[in-house]
């Protein structure tokens, strides 16, 4: 197990970052933001892969593989559906999107 104080430091800093990044969000984007945050916790896939890779009996392996399937659905599906929503937000304001593309290019 990791050093408890290091863990606590990481947690406290992550809490503040989490509070900061979404505290001023526009209500227009609440749905995509929720969906995007939802995709991020799909990273439990990493944990599911680790337990599946260490499973040494068929029963444990089966449960672990179910976890991999569920986590993948969360992670991949979450990012895809968020992108689909945001694509529509982009397409109805061509002028703004043009400006965004310019920034991407630099």
């Amino acid at each position: 197990m990791m050093d408890p104080i290091t863990l606590l430091t990481v947690v406290v800093l992550a809490v503040f970052v989490g509070f900061e990044v979404v505290s001023k969000v526009t209500s227009k984007l609440h749905t995509p933001l929720m969906s995007g945050a939802n995709a991020i916790h799909g990273i439990i896939l990493v944990g599911a892969i680790i337990v599946a890779g260490q499973a040494d009996d068929p029963w444990l392996l089966t449960v672990a593989l179910i976890a991999v399937v569920l986590a993948t659905a969360n992670l991949v599906g979450g990012f895809v559906v968020t992108d689909r929503m945001l694509e529509m937000f982009g397409s109805r304001k061509p002028a703004r999107r043009g400006a965004g593309t310019g920034e991407d290019g630099k």
Binding site: T31, G36, A37, A39, H41, V63, T82, R84
Partner: protein, 457 residues
């Protein structure tokens, strides 16, 4: 494979964590949102590749097959889902994430002797299971597979108390004995607690619950990071937990509600159960043709879309109506309440899908000062978000909620299914105002008929 040493592994996980922070930050502004989401996806890819290259893994072909199955199921659904059903899908993905975290924790129980790690195992299992079951109920309510009305039975608080005590007891036994049997019992109790927590929540509050369960899954994933000694899971989970909590609070205050009131209101009896009592006071009802004349000869029309429009899937028809009116020289804007639709921000997504121009969408703060210069406020499938009781009646359940002040417009037209009050279960005095007319019927049908009549003017 162990291609990457611990140093490189930590470094790549750090990169992934930074990507997630940038993703959340990007998502908070329309200009950067799509790029932010892409950065988040890239971070996830980095993390998954890193775990394959760093950990000693068996069963790699099977794991890859499971990833392929998960993607093959999720991607087509994510691509094809209708925008009106977005809240269900978000809840569904959230639930499976919580379920995955709970399963990971159960499997790691055998590898953890340290009581603190076992405590993290217990937390992950319990919160993951609550999130899984709770999300399943929210999907059922949103899909109307189960009643959207709060489901209550006598003795619910007692049963809930017993389940919570049982879960605590099972949790302590897991920590002390490390036995898988108690862990399974804990999972089952967690699932029951999730059901009992969400079943009593009314349909209008379900979106807040999705956001709260999203934060729960984040916390479960964070705890699984402690279980597995993986800092990335800890950071990503904590980020989502913290941001989800803030988002839940922001949304609840946009509805003028407290989060605890939503979650436990039903237990205390102060629930949001909408009254079904119909008023028999006289109202002025109108025909589609009359509404078309009112709209067609106005100078400025503000459309207030609400939950009813989303349910009737009338967003494309209302977009067409706006175009038809604009073609006649009428200035048309949409005033969007923060909680319009079936999920906060949902109406913006629906109208984006219907290609309503961005400039035509006004948020509450922008829209309210313009109502006095507006000839007609057209309210489609909304009620509580325009109910003046939020300002005038201190005892009302929605008192204090910011509303769209449509009463200041010259005339008010409601398209409503019936005289039933909104979810808050209170009458809307505006319906009986002399300058208000009502057109009864399904929002999409009414809009189609009004649209036809406008085109015939």
């Amino acid at each position: 494979m162990s291609v990457l040493g611990p140093g490189w592994t930590s470094l790549f996980y750090l990169v992934a964590a930074v990507c997630f922070i940038l993703a959340l930050k990007g998502l908070s502004s329309p200009r950067t949102a799509r790029r932010g989401n892409a950065i988040g996806a890239a971070g996830a890819l980095v993390a998954v590749v890193t775990v394959f290259l760093s950990a000693k893994l068996e069963n790699i072909p099977l794991i890859l097959a499971a990833i392929a199955v998960g993607s093959a199921v999720a991607v087509p659904v994510a691509r094809r889902v209708q925008m009106t059903q977005m809240p269900q899908l978000v809840a569904l993905f959230n639930g499976v994430g919580g379920g995955a975290a709970a399963l990971v924790a159960v499997l790691e129980l055998g590898h953890s002797g340290d009581p603190w790690v076992r405590l993290a195992v217990v937390f992950t299992m319990l919160v993951g299971a609550v999130s899984f079951a709770g999300s399943a109920v929210t999907v059922g309510k949103l899909q109307e597979l189960i009643s959207t009305r709060p489901l209550l039975f006598p003795g619910l608080p007692v049963v809930m108390g017993a389940v919570v005590l049982g879960a605590v007891a099972a949790g302590v036994l897991v920590i002390v004995t490390g036995a898988v049997g108690w862990a399974v019992a804990l999972l089952v109790l967690g699932l029951v607690a999730g059901l009992l927590l969400v079943l009593p929540v009314g349909g209008a509050d379900v979106p807040i619950v999705i956001s709260l369960l999203n934060a729960f899954t984040g916390l479960a994933v964070a705890a699984s990071g402690i279980v597995l000694g993986n800092v990335l899971l800890l950071v990503a989970g904590t980020l989502v937990g913290a941001s989800g909590t803030i988002l839940t609070k922001v949304m609840a205050s946009a509805m003028g509600r407290g989060v605890t009131g939503i979650m436990f209101g039903a237990f205390r009896g102060g629930s949001t159960a909408g009254s079904t009592v119909q008023s028999d006071r006289p109202v002025r009802s109108s025909s589609p043709e009359d509404v078309a004349v009112q709209l067609g000869y106005a100078q400025r029309v503000v459309i207030v879309p609400g939950y009813g429009l989303a349910v009737a899937q009338g967003q494309h028809t209302i977009a067409e109506l706006a175009i038809a009116l604009a073609a006649r020289g009428v200035e048309v804007v949409f005033a969007i309440h923060p909680v319009a639709g079936r999920m906060p921000g949902h109406m913006n997504v629906l109208l984006a899908e219907a290609n309503v121009p961005y400039e035509a969408l006004k948020e509450l703060e922008e829209a309210n000062p313009e109502f006095p210069n507006t000839d007609i406020a057209l309210i489609v499938g909304a009620n509580d978000v325009v109910n003046p009781a939020a300002k005038s009646t201190p005892g009302a359940p929605i008192y204090g909620m910011p509303i769209l002040e449509v009463a200041q417009a010259g005339q008010v037209v409601f398209l409503k299914r019936s005289m039933r009050p909104g979810f808050a279960g209170i009458e809307n005095e505006l319906l009986f105002d002399p300058k208000t007319t009502l057109l009864f019927g399904d929002a999409k049908d009414s809009l189609t008929r009004v649209l036809g009549a406008v085109k015939a003017l």
